[in-house]
Symmetry: D3
Subunit: 246 residues, 6 copies
């Protein structure tokens, strides 16, 4: 089984981190194919960055599917481009926010999501609402830029810890969801430290992707995710239409 | 006052229709600047088309703002790219679905939205939910391709009428919202025919855009729509970043 | 175009303030007809005052419609009598709470409403819920009597500012809605002061009323707002039935 | 114990019917004081009629409280004026819609409400939502004018039966709520006929009113139902302010 | 009329307290039959205790119905086994949480529930949501073990008071619901002390049970509460099936 | 890895079917330990059967955990006893309804659940609501007794197919969830037949259980699922308390 994991931002070091988290939980028979988008912003912080990350992301998924991937993961906590990818691809596609909250819901009644920047709170709340967890999840921001996470001198880990502690105390959170792909390597350690489940979306998504492949489940092509209709595209964005459209 | 109206699909004839609807309701002192996106699909039918329409749309809004527009309208009922545009622009931005349901809510307690294709029902329901009207609005599809709307021989108008009649009878709709920018010229006629309010999103959005300009209201830059952070962009998508990013 | 603005309390000085706010945003071709109710309480603070304000309010709207008004606005943030007015009148009718939250939703994802007295919090929350904004709006009270607002010595403005600051800090509000018609003159100044959109319902309602008239939209008479049935009325409340009832 | 039951329409024959239903379920030690409003419409069918029924209703409740009533019931399924009455009175006040749905919820998971006219569906749905039963209750109208209910030749009972049968078949209703005070005498018979619980709001409200009195519970005067503030009233509506206002 | 009140934990002293509260509000013609479960935990604190309390509880209700009870009350604030009891019994069955929140809703717009242990907050919130009061009720825990309530030296009453004070100040509660059957004797005193309605579920349930009996209402056997189907049971749990199953 | 799968009804042939479905999707390194409850009803059809199935179910889980199981699955679509099991056990516990809807949500925007009997519709709707899918899932019953599913002459499969076809046509379902553990062997075949994803909860739960074990996630013991407190139990239900209680 081959699971494609696309980092939709264009920072390769973050892909490395994501790939490591994915590998560490994958089944022995699963190959993780980690890819960095080749178009768009170096980090995704808010709606504008998301918009420009989507075409490059879709290109990677289209190419990955053509190369034989069995499922795809979008490794950004905003679930950037998830609906478009599901409509485009024949293989199942997962977002890491969706995967994380679906997994958290299995081990806790209420939990808190700690994301990076204030500006991401409302987008993530929108996702949480859509995934049916609005009454169970609180969303917090630790005020840390995405790319600062792997810089030990940035103080980001300290800020993250402080926000987790607020979640435990103020929200009475029973579990913590890490709200950024760049935190994928921190979950196990924080779980030990705080004694509550700490969920990383990349790992959660790898397991759910394996599930769907094993269960023989693909995105329904009836209704919202019907395959794109064949039609002309103008300008620079047309070439990477992923496959002969129906 | 200058109101930019962007047709995010790349079909100029549809822009002409949209421009006509916009002009017909604009204040005398308002100039309607209608623009057709120069990149992306010829019609927007589902999530995949949406994704590829956004960069071209944002480019038009960025250029329109630079050229002095006071507000911008995204003339596609999926409210394609609305969040990204709000984050990017300093001027207020409106989607026609949002405008239509906000207006319908002022003249009816429950109403039905008649959109084009089955695949658009769930995306539009998602918007309706987000705009707070999930308990008041029913979403229906008339099974008509977007570009068939101006082809009298297509039978599309007949199908649209049939679906409106179902909405009145089955949903007990008190008003009808036309769920496609390509229907913008039909509202007045259908309103007379059926004796209930019929709302077109393009017209509704023009009036709301004028309102925001007159009231001196712009998108809040605090929170979800904070201005994009300056950062490198890779690949073909970088050039049209709209303005010196903060 | 003639827009009737009814102050449903019986304090003429407040009508003057409301009229000023309305005039300042109206289109050049719009005449603002400001009226003070001639029956009922001098201010509306809670459900009981509301109940006694409704008949006088309906009388003004009925007379205004007979005199040629094209739309009517109820200038009390409780949207007192809005449903009855919509059923009674042929012209569109707007409440200022409804107008304010519909407008705020176009420029902010979450916002806070600052109203006058604690006792108004639950009524306003009820309205906010009905208008579909329960998950986006927080309601606060500044503990200021309605009629104190134009008394500089009352300290009311200071209390209002303190509550706005709490909204920004605690609620992470992206915009502020002023929750009383008596605050209509404060919006622009507070917007400059705090650097976020500040919305006044009277101004918002004037623009929405103009919209409906221009768009040719009236309250649907199908369903909830069907015209009142002709029937006998006993006692003092009968004379001002607004028009030959069907 | 004295329970005031106010018919807020001005049709005395309907009060007689309501009184009978109230008497039939009251405790031996409870005196039912049935009153007909002396101001307003002969029947309440929609928001407009409601508005004009409220002052007369409040007058009856104020006088009833002054005369020693321990609790009051508003015998109209629209729960006309309930909030104002709760704010005004020291004694507890109940609406029959609220009472009926609270009671139905104790014997069925989902139920249907059959009211009179189409125009009442949305107002009743609004109440049902407020009372927390939106996901459990369906609202239907039998298309019968309120005052036709005691006219055997009107065919109203036949229409009511037909609608109950639809509720059982289409809604899978486990119980039926009769959605008009004028149906108060029909519950027992229909319950036998259909073999499911049939709830009448007048009876339900009498029992709940007795409960509150016995339990020593009165409307909280903290928050939404704080006692009205003393203030001048203009015009004909002032005289019946119920008690020395605080 | 005979009302069965079952204490589903196996602590007889708590049954005595519950019986006293029930007696104090029952109608003169009502006989309170208080029973202590003979199987299961000595107190119910969380889901696990609930599960083991249900069979003993159902046995008491089955025997009580066979002995002529007209209605049954489950005197534990978790409404332990309520659905199973409703399906099993022909007589109406009430839970004290359901009864308390239904009663509180008649005298306050928003209220707070103060229960015993932190672990009970989410179960009680689940009930509150189901009963339609999620937007009106806040749930708090005073951190007091159930069986400490009648031990004056435990400090439990002091903790309960502290939590009520937080509810009034922080939640702006208009009324207080006591969230444990073991607090049944405290309501009247606390109501006097704090000047807001304080609701005890045992008392509330007795009155509602009387209501249902007087109104001739029983649990609907159509749908969710259809009578259990006759079928073999294995092991120790079979003997007390309450009646010849259909 | 050892996954315990408990059939909470006492029919061993159904356990065999469940075990087969579980085995067919388990990882090579996973051992499926299928157990049949030794106490309670032969099938679970409604709340009453659920109540009597819980103690036997908990006993199996307690013994399974003691014997080294890494996770447990409750193989009944009512998710019978799930909360109690989560509180009791240290290992993660999954319900098959929860697993099925969480999985369906990854491949479809809206889906329908087809369960067995009418009486199960409301319990399943309650679960769906709790799992956050109330707006995305429709619940239907095929009117087939649980134990008829493996009897080819019963006509049950035909009824199930008819209900699936209604779901596709009337609900516009994009996927189908099979709402009974007894249907676990039918998913693949029906998926091929209807061309939409068909989800079986047993298979879905096995994969999610493997996920949690691999990810090192266990039920949070903070809050709702805190370990049971040590306390005396009376009567026959005490012996199988699963482990030294804290």
């Amino acid at each position: 089984m081959r699971i494609l994991v696309v980092n939709p931002n264009t920072t390769a070091s973050m892909t490395t981190l994501i790939e490591g988290a994915a590998q560490s939980v994958a089944n022995p028979a699963t190959a993780i194919l980690a890819r960095t988008s080749r178009m768009g912003p170096v980090s995704i912080e808010g709606y504008y960055d998301e918009a420009f990350a989507v075409p490059g992301l879709l290109k990677e998924i289209a190419e990955g599917e053509a190369a034989g991937a069995d499922a795809a993961i979008i490794a950004c906590f905003d679930d950037t481009g998830l609906d478009a990818a599901r409509a485009m691809a024949s293989i199942p596609v997962l977002g890491i926010c969706e995967a994380a909250v679906a997994t958290a819901a299995l081990v806790a009644q209420r939990f808190s999501i700690v994301t990076t920047l204030e500006r991401s709170i409302m987008p993530v709340k929108g996702l949480v609402h859509r995934y049916g967890m609005a009454e169970r999840a609180t969303v917090r921001a630790a005020d840390i830029p995405v790319l600062s996470l792997d810089d030990p001198s940035s103080g980001s880990l300290k800020k993250l810890r402080a926000e987790i502690e607020k979640a435990l105390e103020i929200d009475a959170a029973e579990a913590i969801v890490l709200g950024c792909a760049g935190m994928a390597d921190l979950a196990r350690h924080l779980q030990e430290e705080y004694g509550v489940p700490v969920i990383d979306g990349v790992s959660a998504a790898v397991k759910l992707a394996e599930n769907l492949v094993t269960l023989g489940l693909k995105t329904s092509k009836r209704g919202a995710y019907a395959a794109p209709l064949a039609k002309p595209y103008l300008g620079i964005l047309s070439p990477f239409a992923p496959r002969p459209l129906e």
